[in-house]
């Protein structure tokens, strides 16, 4: 399939990433190479495969729903860019 600048810009919007025009041009070429390669999988006949979106054998082991010692909220300020009175601070969202 053809990889266009429009597609790269669309994917950048979905990815919440920003590229300069020059970066987009380089990216487009590299992306085209990769997509051409991954297109190889179309050669494999998978009509006999029944699984759909997830084929892992491993099963989720959910723990009992009980309160465990968790991370102390005060610890979060060590990792948060901005933290006040136990809350993450974000820019104004609603006027």
């Amino acid at each position: 399939m053809e990889i266009t600048v429009d597609l790269i810009e669309h994917l950048a919007r979905l990815s919440k990433l920003e590229f300069t025009k020059q970066e987009t041009a380089v990216f487009k070429e590299e992306f085209a190479d990769i997509v051409k390669h991954i297109d190889n999988i179309q050669k494999i006949n998978t009509d006999d495969v029944v699984c759909e979106n997830e084929c892992l054998d491993a099963e989720n082991e959910l723990r009992e729903d009980k309160v465990l010692t968790n991370i102390d909220r005060s610890q979060l300020q060590k990792i948060a860019p901005e933290f006040e009175r136990g809350c993450f601070v974000v820019p104004l969202v609603v006027e």
Partner: protein, 469 residues
């Protein structure tokens, strides 16, 4: 020095844990190979406590007092966990990963955190925001990746053993490049709680060690069910170390000779043939197997791993942790924080992931790749009807020069051709050094075993290791 040698020295009072740890810290300080991101401030104090335990006959395990390095995507309280990314360059660990808890409960001393490809995305450790790690065997060459710092730290004697993570070969490939033993255990055998996620259906923690027996010692400590991790497997406790005897007589090795057509490096081909001869001499039988579908594994891997990465890395938005761009608008804050924080390869994988998951491409790529993943699993399971382990080279080449492959992401991806299929089928695999090329760079041989059959894997690896001496 390996774990068993260190244990003997400690037991015979010929050294102390404090000495071992100080020695590692001095080497880290002097090293200019960029293998280590940060050191652990509590290491010497913990080593003194280990020495006190030993003096009073209360050592916790064979690992008590042994200096260990962990990859910088594993959380340990009191350290930064950066994933070698600008996004997390100041990110404090506010809890311990389960593997850290297990190592520390066994008395091991975590001395430092190792350089890696950013968010574990890479095969050369050149994608680190802190610069490439250099191979201790030849400083102009890469360590491999993404656990390049972890592998290099063991090879360069900056520690006695280390932890890496392996999503498509990230423990085994650098192990092969640095001439150490690298294990990717069965999916679910070691808890990933506290390890920064890349691709959750593929990621595993694995040890890097000087010897196969050390690898078994590490797995004895690390394996086990963890209720904090919902893919953790409920398995009987195994004594891997006690069962390593290197006996393989009467067992069968599956080998697809056509795989060698993918290998241009003649030394790698020669060493694979020599390894087969060595196994035959030790009583193993070689059987032909068909692994033709491995050819498609790289494509499936880059579709599925990127899809999962684009989802897992959605949480890096500049709000709760990591870098925040100086912007006063929420939407722009996401955009700028991610653009400034992530490196080029990480952006490439997020973009690819969003491509294969997006409307119009989902069925053709993501869904199709899941089905091919199932076909790969079926073909490998058919092989295990005929054999106990499968043998391949770990990598198609020995460690290459720094900068040699950075021009082509695709060429770099193809480095992992023999390792990625294993992650997709949830099975365990180990890379063992076997011989060197004329430039003294090591070749790695990979064994793949059936799920939870690490015991057989260790015995084949041990047998081959004895042939490497």
């Amino acid at each position: 020095m390996d774990i068993i040698e260190a244990k003997k020295l400690l037991e015979n009072k010929l050294t102390t844990s404090e000495n071992l740890v100080k020695n590692c810290l001095q080497k880290i300080e002097k090293s200019d190979l960029n293998l280590i991101n940060s050191i652990c401030a509590d290491a010497i104090e913990k080593a003194k406590q280990s020495d006190e335990r030993r003096a009073s006959g209360k050592s916790l395990s064979i690992l008590d007092g042994i200096p260990i390095v962990i990859k910088d995507n594993i959380n340990k309280i009191g350290t930064k966990t950066t994933c070698s990314s600008n996004f997390l360059k100041n990110n404090a660990s506010i809890y311990d990963a389960t593997v850290v808890q297990k190592l520390e409960q066994a008395g091991a001393i975590i001395v430092a955190k190792a350089n890696m490809d950013e968010f574990a995305m890479g095969s050369s450790n050149e994608n680190s925001a802190f610069g490439p790690a250099k191979n201790p065997l030849n400083n102009n060459r890469v360590t491999g990746g993404s656990s390049g710092g972890s592998a290099g730290a063991v090879a360069g004697d900056l520690c006695i053993a280390s932890l890496g993570t392996d999503t498509g070969g990230s423990v085994r490939q650098p192990a092969s490049f640095c001439g150490v033993v690298g294990l990717k255990p069965t999916y679910g055998l070691i808890s990933r709680f506290g390890v920064v996620a890349f691709a959750s259906s593929l990621d595993q923690v694995g040890p890097l060690t000087k010897t196969v027996k050390d690898s078994a010692i590490m797995l004895d400590c690390l394996a086990g069910f963890d209720e904090k991790e919902n893919t953790s497997a409920k398995q009987e406790k195994n004594n891997y170390y006690d069962n390593v005897d290197g006996k393989i007589s009467g067992l069968k090795v599956g080998f697809d000779k056509n795989l060698l057509n993918k290998v241009e490096d003649k030394t790698v081909v020669e060493q694979v043939k020599k390894s087969i001869e060595h196994l035959k001499k030790n009583g193993a039988e070689i059987v032909d197997v068909d692994l033709s579908i491995f050819e498609y594994a790289i494509d499936v891997y880059y579709i599925l791993a990127s899809a999962e990465a684009s989802s897992n890395l959605g949480r890096f938005d500049g709000v709760r942790f990591g870098t925040r761009a100086d912007i006063n608008n929420l939407s722009e804050l996401y955009l700028k924080s991610r653009t400034e924080g992530f490196g080029k390869e990480v952006k490439r994988r997020i973009m690819l992931g969003n491509f294969v998951l997006s409307s119009g491409y989902f069925d053709a790529y993501y869904k199709k790749a899941q089905k091919v993943r199932e076909k790969i699993k079926q073909q490998v399971q058919n092989c295990f009807e005929k054999c106990n382990v499968i043998l391949t080279p770990t990598t198609p080449t020995v460690a290459f020069e720094i900068g040699e492959k950075t021009h082509s992401p695709l060429e770099m991806y193809l480095e992992d051709i023999f390792t990625v299929p294993v992650n997709m089928i949830e099975m365990p695999a180990i890379s063992v050094p076997f011989g060197k090329n004329k430039d003294n760079m090591p070749v790695g041989i990979q064994f793949i075993a059936n799920k939870f059959d690490e015991k057989t894997l260790f015995n084949f690896a041990e047998c081959l290791e004895r042939g490497n001496k």
